[in-house]
Amino acid sequence: METQTETQIERRDPATVMRLSRLGSLHQCRLSFMRQLTRRLAQENWSFTRPVFDIDANGVGRAVYTAQGPERAYSLVAFAHDLPPEQRSDRVIAEAWDATFTLFDGIPTQADIDRLSRNVPLQEAGRVSESELSLSRANRSVRLWKHVVDALAAGQQPDLSQIHQVGYLMRTTAVYGSGKFGAADRERVANRPEAQAPFQVEMLSVFLTRTFVRDLVQHMANAKGGDQAAQLDPEIARWLGIGNSTGLGMAPFIVNHPVLFNNWIMAREEAIARVRSVATATRDEVDQFRNLFRRSQLSISWWQSEHPIQIKKLAHLNADLKAIAAYLDDDDLSGVSPWDRLVSWSETALSEEGQEFVASLILEPYPGLVDGLTSCMADSRTEAFVINGRMSIGQACGLIQETYGWALDLDWTAREHCARAWYVSEEKLEPRLGERFEEPIEAYEQPLAPARDAAAAYTALSGWDDSQTIAEFLLRHPEHRHTIRRVQLARSAPYGEIRDNTIGEKVLPIDMLRAKLSFFGATHFDPRSDRWVRICMYSGAPYPEELTAENADLWVYPQDPA
């Protein structure tokens, strides 16, 4: 049936969407980067091979996995290591890992693999080249790895409930792309259809990494169990995702890429507005929604966290799921504007976790309305960086009020509003968040408090005549140049700015991490502190050789085997 595309409902206000607590409650959706990738791989009938698997009985060696698309091939080059437990750390300051990887642009020669073997295992201390598109590493989940190896070696299948609880055999602790450590810049691949959407290279790297990890655990079980070792049941293997452990590095990313971040949020907001504008839902659309709601409940039942903040959020989400179930018992979604009614109800009845869950889930029955928006999620507007110097001071002040109005009356010298400062540490150059009044870090502060800086620029502008140009002001006050640039960007990127204090004493960096990771398509957010989170990727997804048009998209919603 023809779906109505005319949008009547407006996109939600950035002032509502861009609050940190809401960004920290976002859920994956049809636009997620992992799902974009698996849909494309299936649609274009990519083929997958493992030309190299040279790993010894101690689990040390190398392997190559090649993905061949319609025009080009990409290869994951993997190195497996024997890591002593005392060296196993998720932190960016680690110097050794259970496995290290690079995504090679094409099919590597033996000489390429030898070159990479001298560099990739060193990660930040090595160098890769323009032939490489990413650099990453992963550590085992010690508990689940041992369980799976021991079970298979003894001729048994691993316990599914333990797999659901952990979710993965290895977690990546960094996936570097876009020119890091000598790798190719994004510009090299940005015009390729398969890499146009954000993070497709990194998502492919992780997709292939998951296959390598499955093969490696089988290899180790075979080495241990010999003839009596069992083959891992594919139905069980499917629940093994890849974990990811993410620290503060991601938080500055969304502040430093306001146009890109805007494009992600705006695409989702546009999708939500389009679906809310659907006048009536067909029987199939309603059935699909109800089916996926049921499957979501199963996934969320596996979501565990030991962190008090997430424990509380999960309690709210579970209560929200009950409320949604009750709503769906009373409302068969057959009336007018069923999705708008559901969303409007959620805003009055559910926590932000539940509201954002609903907002993502209503997109599922509408690939025709939603999936085309994936082409709007990259940032290719390099010219947006250039300031329009002819803008009048009066206009610039108006723009500041529009985006940062909430911040202008805040006392930015009060301790609670500026208790924290973002800085980069000397060792390993990792971003950190420190206590401004307790540590000697202010001199090193990074510009990651746009709202405070906007308030300062606004004050400075107040002494100028409204009709003067911003060029005249910036000649005298270059210290406000980065702020005026952001303010001008915000005209076309209204969802690019976080509408909250990023240096206040109550800021939770995990909110920023979750916002980004939700667009990757991550599930089961498990904060380890207020600035460190573990997630699961690709759990439930088909492996490359199993990928079909039927299973390429909705794998994120588990089907109860019963």
Partner: protein, 209 residues
């Protein structure tokens, strides 16, 4: 050594900040250095030379007094003040030329001329003493080397076609220039303390689980 343009840009930004410039100028310097490298010019050399001059300790001495008339400063002008003023005031080129006296590291002006060219949708010529460069906003037609300092720079719209240099995807700075930039960049990093290692990154739980 071969660096990605992203590495060049990130290092240039930190170096410029480390040399004492404000963040907005550091962003401009980073994009400008990247742009020069993409044109096959030695952007790292131009930036390293500029930062070594120490202009950021007294910025008001090194910026034009205003956008009208000839652009001059108390002493040599800084391209990280002149360049942004040029791209912010590109419309002035519709009314005539812009003349600049005594400019340090003039090659760093070229990326800003390219922004002006894009804004005006025409080619822009930059005469640096005896040499000339022309950009249409994307490509650049220019000699390989530029003087460390220019006595007189004249910028104007141009009807000449741009015969572009090949676009480069890597930066190849000399070891000395790269060392200079990373030494400046190092000033932006806070010395690590045991407390910051634990608190600042929020670690603490064992990862052997």
């Amino acid at each position: 050594m071969s660096f990605s343009l992203n590495e060049m840009e990130a290092t240039a930004k930190r170096a410029t900040r480390g040399a004492g410039y404000c963040w907005g100028q550091a962003e401009e310097a980073a994009k400008a250095t990247r742009w020069l490298c993409a044109q096959g010019l030695d952007g790292a050399s131009s930036l390293a030379a500029l930062l070594s001059l120490g202009f950021a300790s007294n910025p008001s001495m090194h910026r034009p007094k205003g956008a009208s008339g000839v652009w001059t400063g108390e002493v040599a002008l800084c391209p990280l003040s002149v360049g942004p003023l040029l791209s912010d005031s590109a419309h002035l080129l519709d009314e005539g030329h812009i003349e600049i006296h005594d400019l340090a590291a003039p090659a760093l002006l070229l990326p800003f001329a390219s922004y002006a060219a894009r804004a005006l949708n025409c080619a822009v010529a930059v005469e640096i003493d005896q040499i000339e460069a022309i950009t249409d906003g994307v490509a650049l037609s220019a000699p390989d080397r530029f003087p460390a300092r220019a006595q007189r720079v004249v910028i104007h719209r141009s009807a000449d076609p741009v015969s572009p240099c090949a676009q480069h995807t890597r930066a190849n700075p000399t070891d000395a220039d790269w060392d200079t930039l990373t030494t400046f960049a190092h000033r932006t990093y806070a010395p690590a303390t045991e407390e910051s290692r634990l608190l600042g990154a929020g670690a603490g739980l064992s990862d052997n689980d």
